[in-house]
Each structure stands twice: as structure tokens, then as C-alpha cells.
């Protein structure tokens, strides 16, 4: 680990600490008797206060101290944990975050307001300011004339507990010219001697101007447990104490014996797992390099394929293997569990429940599913919006629910699951479901659709994501926050993901976000259609079958194949892309699927696997929906990446139209 900026590290750490405190508070809110949670909150606040003071966040430390004191009282049973207290500390947590990140602003009023509420919420008065660090009882005796005679016996366990008597004596020597005598009157007989205990006393005279407190400071860690006499040195009084006196040489011998008594190196214990914290930008940088490497590697592969040099080929293959392993390792490094994401919503639900007066229960599932860190970060805002929407419009209030024969408490369920190359995150509520008539009326009123226009159910529901659409009869403070559902959809699409809606009126809605596992590199299947080359994400490819010319001719007009008793629609990419070329004799159908939906794509040639570094399309091409991006091939040419979800939808539409026609 390299040395970094401790203040920046403190801020990161404080954020994590505050998140943890928030989680614990929310848990505590659900179970006010849980002593472990009270302790956890206390510990978090305590650490925050301590580190805050270390790094110059004095206001934070002062403010946090009051919260800590409150929890200390709860912890010690002097005050009960109450819902009000949890609520106040939650506000305090937000305030602490402001004190950390906007440390220059004036927070006095807000601090005072929260502390006022805190005092009201806890029965015990907690107005004592942070006590000053313990001051040792220092007697302000003036400096003695000439120096001090210091006689002391250390507690028997002093050496075992790490106190080095010689270091203490050295410290006394540092104060001035000293004469040291070892006192051995308490040395037990050999058979009673415990070698790790300290049996000696010392008698030291120091000629110094230092005050008595300087002498006491030397013994600060042991002063309460030891026998210590400090007396001013009388001028010219030097008669020896009635104790045994050893020469300095003897003392050294004893010291050597003592230090030799400590055994050395033991057996190595099992190694604990170590974590290294790396700034996200460095990972991004590394990712870029890996991307470039993969492109360079595919050029090398191309060259090697055209070469007869066997050793070049084998090196190329080896590098190809390493590059793909490196890519996989890189991916794993960037993955974080969605629990990071889900955890943030507990507070949201808590606040939403408080603000709407509804009873809302949040349950989660599949928190261990992992996603690219960047994806997780970009998912947070859209999900907040969707959850707000579900709580605000989806869930009924307690009376409404009772009337509908449902339990009083509404439920929001967040689920993450991995399916092939994508992660499906769903937000389910058991509310009233979407009112299709109202959506239609609203869309017609806004001119999004023609009156009476025929729409599939999914198309109708998807209208809520159209720009300028809002189903809420009145914009509440919860959902009406400027960002519309269209922004949600755009964000998800920018992640190459898509949104499905399922909704049963009266029973609830499920919004499903399908997000590709990673943004940067995918394993692709390279195909040729006419002269152009295209990449299909390999994770979506289910199988490849041959489509003979006769079969193609026979099926014309009805683009279906029967695949194990199942009718699968197919699209002729040659026609779709208007290549202007004739169908080749042995076309292939690549069957791709998303979830349960399948569609066949007719291509001219399947070239093979291709590690695909995804480059996004220019803004000019953003509306060309059939493509999800572009990539650079080994020979420097560009291949477009097919957006399988869009093609599947296209195929399904075609299927529905044909079915409707027949």
C-alpha cells in the first residue's frame, strides 16, 4: 500500500461508517431492544468522533460526541432506545455527512436544531461537552533546587506487560546528570523467583532543573500501580541508601539476562486475508489497457492465422489465452455485490414510509449477485426513482390495503438474479398495479399515441417511460422530483440494459431491469452478413443451425423454423440491413434468446468467437436501435455489435403480426 492522503481516506471511511451506522439504526428501529445494534451504533459514532478529531474535523467531532453520549447512555441502560432517538440520529447522520463534505459551510443552526431534538429524545441530559483528554494529576511544585532523588519499585508484572525499566531509567538520565543504583532488597530466593517479574527497585538521583511533574511524567503509564518516592535533592546530601548497591556493570548484566529471557519467533500462524483499496480510476485505467491489449491481440491473431510460421502461431495462441484470462480477472476485480446498491434503499424506504404515512416493508433477495462497479453506481438513481414511484403510486395506504383485503403493510421486494450475460434486477410491489385505462388516457391527452391506436400490453405500459409522461394525477413531493421516468429509461439503455414491466391491476407491479454484466468487453460471436461483419454477444447465442437454400425458399413469407416442436421466428439480416447481395447457398441461423423469448438471425457466415471491446456509437447513430455499439476487428475494420434485445423484440412483433394476419 502506498502512502496516500489520510484526510481523503478519512472521508471515504467516514462515508462507509455513516452508511453502516445508518443500516444499524434502521435495524435498531425495527428492534429497539437489540443490545448488539446499540453497541454497533455506539462504536460507529465513537470511531467517527475519534477519527474526526484526528483529522481536524472538530465540529464533526463535537457534534458526534453528543450523539455518542446519547448512545452510551442507552448502552449502559441509563436511557431506553426509542423510535424518536433513532429518527434523530438518522437526521444527525445526514448532518455529519454535511459536516464532512461541506466543512466550510455554516452548520451551527442545523447542529443546534438536531441537538435540541436529541435532548428531547433522550431522557438523560447529555449536555456535557467533550471532556478534555485526561490530565495526569500533576503537582505544580516548583523546580527543586538542584534535582530529585527518585526511588521506585515497579509493579511485579510491569516487564511482562511491556514496560522496560531501563527505558524509564534512561528517561530519568535524559533529564540531567544521574546516578543510578539498583535496589535488590526485594529479590526473592531463587526457588521463589519468577523470572518474568520485576523484583528490583531503583534509586536514582538526577541533577536537573526539571519540575517534579517531569519526573512523574516518566512514570505516567505505571504511576498508579507502583511505589514511587520523589524527594528534592538536598544540596550535598549523598549518603547512600541502606540498600544493596550494584555497580552499573552488574546492572547491565541483569538487563541482558532479562532481555535474553524473552523467547524469539514462534510458529507462523495462518495468513489472514488482506484487502487492498484501489481508487476506481486506476481500475478504469487498467480496464482501458486491457481493452487495448485485447484489440492488439486480435491483430496478432489475424497475422498469425495468415502466417505459416508455426512458432508465431503458438505464441499468438498463448497470448490470446493470457489476454482472455487477464480480461476475466479484470472483470472480477470490478465486480461488487448488489448488496452495496440495495443497502442504500433501506433508508429511502424508511423515509418514504414516514413521509407517506404508509407502512412499507422492504425485502431483498440475491444480494450476492455481482455487477460491474460503474454499473452499480449508475443504477442507483434510476432505482431510487422507480422505488419512489412504487411507494408513492403503487402501494396503497393502510386503509386502502385493508379495504382491498391485503395486509396493512405494503411490500417492496428487490431481487437480483444472474441470467447468462446479464443481471436482472426487479422491483416488485404488491400495490394497486398500473391503471391501463389511465395510462392510455394520459398518453392520448399528451399526444404520445393516437386515440384508439392498437398497442400491445407491454407497449402500453412502456408509455410511462415516454418523455413528458406522468401518471400521477398530482405531482407529489416524492415522485415529482424533476427527473422523469424517461430519464430512468435512458439511463438503463445507456447501460445497454432494458426495462420490462409486468403489472396486474389490484395485485401489484414488477419492474425488471436487465443489465449486462459488464460494460467494457464481451465475448462475442463474429458473423458475416453480405460484406459486413457483425458481433453478437455470445451470452445470448443459444445455437447455430443451417438454413439450406431450399428451406429458405420454402419458408418464404413465413419466417419461422420449427425448433424441437417450437416455432421460432427468424429475421433475415441480409434483408433487414438491405445489403443488396444474393442469399448464399449455405446460410446459417443463429438462434439468440433473452429470457424465454427466442429469435433466429439469418447470417451468411459464422466466423467465430471474438473478444469484443465495446466502443459506443457516435451520437449521430444513437437512434439506430438494432446496434448496441461497435468494435474494432483485428484487421482494423469496424464491426457493429447487434442489440439482441431489440432484434428479439422485432422478431416477436413480426410473429404477433403474422399470427394476427393468419
Amino acid at each position: 500500500m502506498s502512502a496516500g492522503d489520510p484526510v481523503a481516506a478519512f472521508k471515504t471511511e467516514a462515508d462507509e461508517l455513516l452508511d453502516q451506522i445508518e443500516q444499524d439504526l434502521l435495524d435498531l428501529g425495527g428492534n429497539l431492544q437489540d443490545a448488539d445494534l446499540v453497541n454497533a451504533v455506539f462504536r460507529g459514532l465513537h470511531t467517527l468522533k475519534g477519527s474526526g478529531a484526528m483529522f481536524g474535523f472538530d465540529k464533526l467531532a463535537g457534534f458526534t460526541h453528543h450523539c455518542e453520549t446519547a448512545f452510551d447512555n442507552v448502552r449502559k441502560g441509563r436511557a431506553p432506545a426509542t423510535a424518536e432517538l433513532v429518527e434523530v440520529i438518522l437526521s444527525a447522520k445526514d448532518h455529519m455527512s454535511a459536516l464532512i463534505h461541506q466543512s466550510d459551510d455554516d452548520h451551527e443552526a442545523a447542529s443546534a436544531e438536531i441537538l435540541g431534538r436529541l435532548r428531547a429524545a433522550i431522557d438523560i441530559a447529555s449536555d456535557a461537552p467533550a471532556p478534555a483528554p485526561a490530565a495526569q494529576a500533576a503537582s505544580p511544585t516548583p523546580a527543586s533546587a538542584g534535582g530529585w532523588r527518585v526511588q521506585f519499585y515497579l509493579p511485579p508484572d510491569a516487564m511482562a506487560n511491556g514496560t522496560n525499566p531501563l527505558a524509564l531509567v534512561d528517561e530519568l538520565r535524559d533529564l540531567g546528570e544521574a546516578e543510578v543504583r539498583l535496589v535488590t532488597d526485594r529479590l526473592p530466593a531463587l526457588d521463589e523467583l519468577v523470572p518474568t517479574e520485576c523484583h528490583f527497585g531503583w534509586d536514582v538521583t538526577v541533577v536537573t532543573d526539571a519540575p517534579r511533574s517531569a519526573i512523574e511524567d516518566v512514570f505516567i503509564f505505571v504511576i498508579d500501580d507502583m511505589q514511587l518516592d520523589i524527594s528534592p535533592l538536598e544540596p550535598a546530601v549523598e549518603e547512600a541508601a541502606a540498600a544493596d548497591v550494584m555497580t552499573p556493570e552488574t546492572e547491565n548484566v541483569v538487563a541482558a539476562a532479562v532481555s535474553a529471557a524473552s523467547p524469539v519467533k514462534g510458529k507462523p500462524a495462518e495468513k489472514s486475508v488482506e484487502n487492498v483499496r484501489v481508487p476506481a480510476e486506476r481500475l478504469d485505467e487498467l480496464m482501458d489497457r486491457v481493452g487495448e491489449l485485447v484489440i492488439a491481440q486480435s491483430r496478432l491473431f489475424q497475422l498469425a492465422q495468415n502466417s505459416i510460421d508455426m512458432s508465431l502461431r503458438s505464441v499468438s495462441e498463448e497470448i490470446g489465452l493470457l489476454a482472455s484470462e487477464l480480461r476475466d480477472t479484470m472483470m472480477v476485480l470490478r465486480m461488487v455485490p448488489v448488496s452495496n446498491l440495495f443497502g442504500r434503499f433501506r433508508r429511502l424506504i424508511h423515509d418514504l414510509a414516514r413521509d407517506t404515512g404508509k407502512i412499507i416493508e422492504l425485502t431483498t433477495e440475491g444480494e450476492n449477485v455481482e455487477l460491474d462497479k460503474t454499473v452499480i453506481e449508475r443504477l442507483a438513481d434510476p432505482m431510487i426513482h422507480l422505488i419512489r414511484n412504487s411507494c408513492d403510486h403503487g402501494l396503497e395506504d393502510a386503509e386502502g390495503r385493508t379495504a382491498a383485503g391485503k395486509p396493512e403493510s405494503g411490500r417492496i421486494h428487490l431481487r437480483a438474479q444472474q441470467a447468462g450475460g446479464e443481471v436482472i434486477i426487479s422491483i416488485e410491489d404488491d400495490g394497486r398495479g398500473m391503471d391501463r385505462a389511465r395510462i392510455r388516457a394520459k398518453a392520448e391527452a399528451n399526444g404520445l399515441i393516437q386515440p384508439g391506436q392498437v398497442l400491445s400490453d407491454q407497449e402500453l405500459l412502456q408509455l410511462i417511460f415516454a418523455p413528458g409522461f406522468s401518471t400521477a394525477a398530482q405531482v407529489t413531493s416524492l415522485s415529482g422530483r424533476g427527473v422523469g421516468m424517461d430519464v430512468v429509461k435512458r439511463t438503463i439503455e445507456s447501460l445497454r440494459g432494458q426495462i420490462d414491466i409486468e403489472s396486474v391491476e389490484g395485485a401489484g407491479s414488477t419492474i425488471r431491469l436487465r443489465i449486462p454484466l459488464t460494460l467494457a468487453i464481451i465475448e462475442g460471436l463474429l458473423v458475416r452478413v453480405g460484406e459486413g461483419r457483425y458481433v453478437l454477444p455470445l451470452a445470448t447465442v443459444e445455437e447455430c443451425i443451417e438454413l439450406s437454400l431450399e428451406e429458405d425458399l420454402r419458408s418464404r413469407g413465413r419466417s419461422f423454423i420449427t425448433l424441437r416442436d417450437r416455432l421460432v421466428p427468424f429475421l433475415r439480416l441480409r434483408e433487414l440491413f438491405a445489403t443488396g447481395t444474393k442469399p448464399e447457398a449455405f446460410q446459417k441461423i443463429v438462434v439468440v434468446g433473452i429470457g424465454a423469448e427466442k429469435v433466429g438471425l439469418v447470417v451468411d457466415q459464422i466466423i467465430g468467437n471474438h473478444q469484443t471491446v465495446i466502443k459506443s456509437m457516435s451520437p449521430l447513430h444513437r437512434n439506430v436501435t438494432a446496434f448496441g455499439g461497435a468494435t474494432i476487428l483485428g484487421d482494423g475494420n469496424v464491426a457493429l455489435i447487434l442489440d439482441v434485445a431489440q432484434l428479439v423484440a422485432l422478431g416477436q412483433n413480426q410473429e404477433e403480426r403474422l399470427r394476427a394476419a393468419s
Binding site: 471511511e13 470511531t47 475519534g50 514462534g266
Partner: protein
């Protein structure tokens, strides 16, 4: 040879601040994020000194100090604990557990070095 110090604290920023101060003064620093990890390190390597927080997850400082004092490999190793508590109760408890000394947070690097030099001796 430079003295080796094991720092045990769950706060990475604090460990970083301590590391910067101690390595700057020529000490060799090993870090652990909680008592359990600190104990594991103490079991596998002899240090010249251990600097530990008290309030930590998994294993708190007091328990770690007690465990380390049972290790034959660490006999007499100075253990200094970090504390923000000003009441003597916690100090007494820590001393009973086997701590050598303490350092009150917040501290500046000079205070830290003074304590380290104090317990390590010349």
C-alpha cells in the same frame, strides 16, 4: 535495524496517519484492521511494539491484548492502546488486560512518536 510496530485499528485513515508518522521516523510498520487480524499477525511475527485501538469489530482491543499476553512469542512486547475515553476506568481495564501505556486521541504525530520512543526506550 529499525524497530517494527504493529498498528491495529479498524480505521484505515488512522492507520494511514500512523504509518506516515512512524515510517517517516524510520520505523517498520505492519497493519491490521481489527483485533482478530492483529492477533493473527502477533502469532506469526514478533514485533518490537504494538499500537492498538480498543473499539474494533470482530475482536476488541482489550480481548486482543489479553490474548497477545498469553503468547510466548510476544512476552514483554510493549502494547500501547489508543483511546478517546478520558475516564480512568478504561485505562485501568486495559492495564489489567496487559497494556503498557496509552495515547489519547486526537494526537499529533509528535505525541505519537514521543510515546513510541518512550516505550521502546533507546
Amino acid at each position: 535495524m529499525s524497530a517494527s510496530v504493529l498498528t491495529v485499528d479498524d480505521s484505515a485513515s488512522l492507520r494511514m496517519a500512523i504509518r506516515i508518522a512512524l515510517t517517516g521516523a524510520g520505523y517498520k510498520v505492519t497493519e491490521a484492521g481489527d483485533g482478530r487480524e492483529g492477533l493473527a499477525k502477533a502469532q506469526s511475527e514478533r514485533f518490537d511494539m504494538i499500537l492498538t485501538d480498543l473499539n474494533m469489530p470482530n475482536m476488541d482491543g482489550l480481548s486482543m491484548i489479553k490474548e497477545i499476553r498469553k503468547l510466548p512469542t510476544q512476552t514483554g512486547v510493549p502494547i500501547v492502546f489508543l483511546t478517546t475515553e478520558s475516564d480512568d476506568g478504561i485505562k485501568q481495564q486495559a492495564k489489567m488486560a496487559g497494556a503498557t501505556g496509552w495515547l489519547v486521541k486526537p494526537f499529533v504525530p509528535e505525541q505519537l512518536l514521543r510515546v513510541v520512543q518512550k516505550v521502546l526506550g533507546r
